[in-house]
């Protein structure tokens, strides 16, 4: 009996939280189906339903191209990040070498300079190399490590019991093989988390594309497209909301299918010895 009550209590709490989490998204959804006149007014339920708003979004702006650009940017950034950051995280977590504490601190420091300020010299650098107007200034740095991801992956790799690595080394595996054959499968939740974070960060990144591609509409991402539905003294919030919902659907679906990666692959029951 007690267990049932606890079960009900837990699920009730979860459902209450779900309501709170969904409410603002619901607000955006309802606004996306309103007329322009009703959007952002005090009547929160659509008086009449304007499903054509979603069509209008595609008619007014090349949302499909923005979507493609966003997928390319997020995808490339994620792949590049994994290629550069996983080895670095492994070196910081599981190899022993002089100065690794300092390097970790330096990497964490990379996140501490306000972006408003780092963009000034970096923009000049990219401008000198002729890459402004494209998304390359946002994607290429990922080939050289991403501080957030390296730090995250390092912390995750620390939670893997050392016995597994020792076993592999005793068996004669070099560090690269240890990483690829032994560690990666066990570190899947952490890697999945880092990859998803990077993907979602790039997906919703507004300032990066704004700075580097705003003068080149062909390279715009969805986040820039969201700001298109306005004139100087009026914003069409119904269309902005529709575009926002369209932006959220792919990543929500991606998360739903990918979140199983957190569960599987980690059954570290019974550590030898």
């Amino acid at each position: 009996m007690n267990r049932q009550l606890i079960w009900i209590a837990r699920h009730s709490l979860a459902i209450a939280l779900c309501v709170m989490f969904v409410a603002p998204v619901g607000f955006l959804l309802l606004t996306s189906l309103m007329s322009d006149a009703q959007a952002l007014t005090s009547s929160y339920w659509p008086q009449d339903w304007h499903f054509e708003n979603y069509k209008d979004v595609f008619a007014k702006t090349p949302m499909a191209r923005y979507l493609l650009n966003t997928v390319l940017y997020a995808g490339a950034a994620t792949v590049f990040m994994l290629l550069s950051s996983v080895p670095a995280a492994y070196a910081l977590a599981r190899l022993r070498w002089r100065g690794q504490g300092t390097v970790l601190v330096v990497i964490v420091c990379m996140m501490m300079i306000p972006p408003q300020v780092t963009t000034v010299p970096l923009y000049l650098m990219w401008a000198n190399w002729g890459l402004t107007g494209t998304l390359w200034p946002l994607v290429l740095p990922m080939l050289f490590g991403d501080a957030f991801s390296i730090f995250l992956l390092r912390q995750f790799l620390l939670t893997i019991p050392g016995e597994y690595l020792d076993a592999a080394r005793v068996d004669g595996c070099g560090e690269w093989r240890t990483l690829l054959r032994v560690v990666l499968p066990m570190a899947r939740p952490g890697i999945a988390a880092a990859a998803l974070f990077q993907f979602f960060y790039a997906w919703n990144d507004y300032y990066g594309p704004l700075l580097y591609t705003s003068e080149n509409e062909e390279n715009w991402t969805l986040s820039l497209g969201l700001a298109s539905f306005k004139t100087v003294h009026h914003v069409q919030w119904n269309l902005v909301s529709a575009a926002t919902i369209l932006t959220m659907v792919p990543v929500a679906a991606l998360f739903f299918f990918a979140q199983r990666a957190f569960v599987q692959g980690v059954t570290l029951t019974g550590v030898k010895g």
Binding site: F21, V117, L143, G145, T159, T244, Q259, V266
Partner: protein, 306 residues
């Protein structure tokens, strides 16, 4: 000797790309920031060396105190709130077997909302007088605050917004919690430990690297809290935008939401005092560095990894 060289080369092969990244995307901008902080600079003219004047001006800047206090308030309140909220919801999720995929997606959904749209939705839901939340509270007889329009409640409202988006922190704790070996938990429970003791002595040590991570990241990102404060101020002030807020509305109401990075942006990019903005950035960096060093102390040298 040969062995050491091999080891060194191995480390180098793992760290090579990141090393380039550190030099180009950290050392270079940091040196630039330090250099520009000693200049009078507006992007359009050659920087003019002015020595310590920008740093001295920080003491004369009558607005800096407000901006600093606001940011420190956020760090003190938002970081623990997010960590606790994330941990709590993650722990709840580990107990829900039925529908876990759906619950996880819904809990994470807010973190996927574009920040500008999310902030606007929140401001409108909490709109005093006409918003659903206040209308509902009014029916219950509660005298609701003015939320984003009240100088006392505007920062807590932003913390609520942050807690609403706690999904990304939650997901990290979830992954870490699922990593805790069930064998250890079972052993502890057989030894007679209750839930709190199991948490403190088995779970917490296992997830501590992730806890440190969220603390450090929390402090660093909160010290740079910008977008939501700007958009909320503009929206609550009656001039909602699709972009990053309108600078003349920043801080509404009564400067309560004007953060240090907002001031840095306004003074550097709107008023043309980019040298001063760089000085502000250097100071912010030093503070972030000091706090992070404190938090990172334990994790820098992991003696035990299991």
């Amino acid at each position: 000797m040969h062995h050491k060289l091999r080891h060194g080369l191995t480390v180098a092969s793992f760290m090579a790309p990141a090393t380039v990244g550190i030099v180009v995307f950290f050392v270079y901008p940091l040196l630039s920031a330090v250099y520009f902080s000693f200049t009078k600079f507006d992007l359009l003219t050659t920087p003019e060396w002015v020595g310590l004047r920008n740093y001295r001006h920080m003491f004369e800047d009558s607005f800096l105190g407000t901006a600093t206090r606001n940011t420190l308030w956020f760090v003190a309140v938002m970081v623990p709130a997010r960590m606790l909220g994330g941990l709590g919801s993650a722990m709840l999720l580990t107990t829900l077997k039925r529908g876990s995929g759906l619950y996880r997606t819904i809990f994470y959904l807010p973190a996927l909302a574009p920040p500008v749209a999310a902030t606007l939705a929140f401001v409108y839901l909490l709109k005093p007088g006409v918003g659903p939340v206040n209308t509902a509270l009014g029916h219950l007889g509660v005298d609701a605050p003015l939320w984003f329009n009240s100088p006392g409640w505007s920062k807590p409202s932003l913390v609520l917004l942050c807690l609403w988006g706690v999904g990304d922190v939650m997901v990290l704790y979830l992954a870490a919690l699922l990593d805790v070996p069930t064998a250890h938990l079972e052993a502890a429970s057989l030894d007679g430990a209750n839930a709190w003791q199991r948490f403190r002595h088995v779970t917490l040590p296992h997830i501590s690297p992730v806890v440190v991570f969220t603390a450090v990241i929390g402090v660093i990102t909160t010290l740079q809290y910008f977008t939501q404060a700007a958009v909320a101020a503009s929206a609550a002030s009656g001039q909602a935008t699709t972009g990053a807020g309108i600078s003349s509305t920043f801080g509404y109401p009564e400067g309560s939401t004007f953060t240090y990075p907002l001031w840095l942006y306004v003074v550097g990019f709107r008023y043309g005092a980019l040298g001063y903005a760089n000085a502000l950035a250097v100071v912010l960096f030093v503070v972030a560095f000091a706090v992070s060093l404190l938090l990172l102390r334990r994790t820098i040298n992991p003696e035990r990894a299991s």
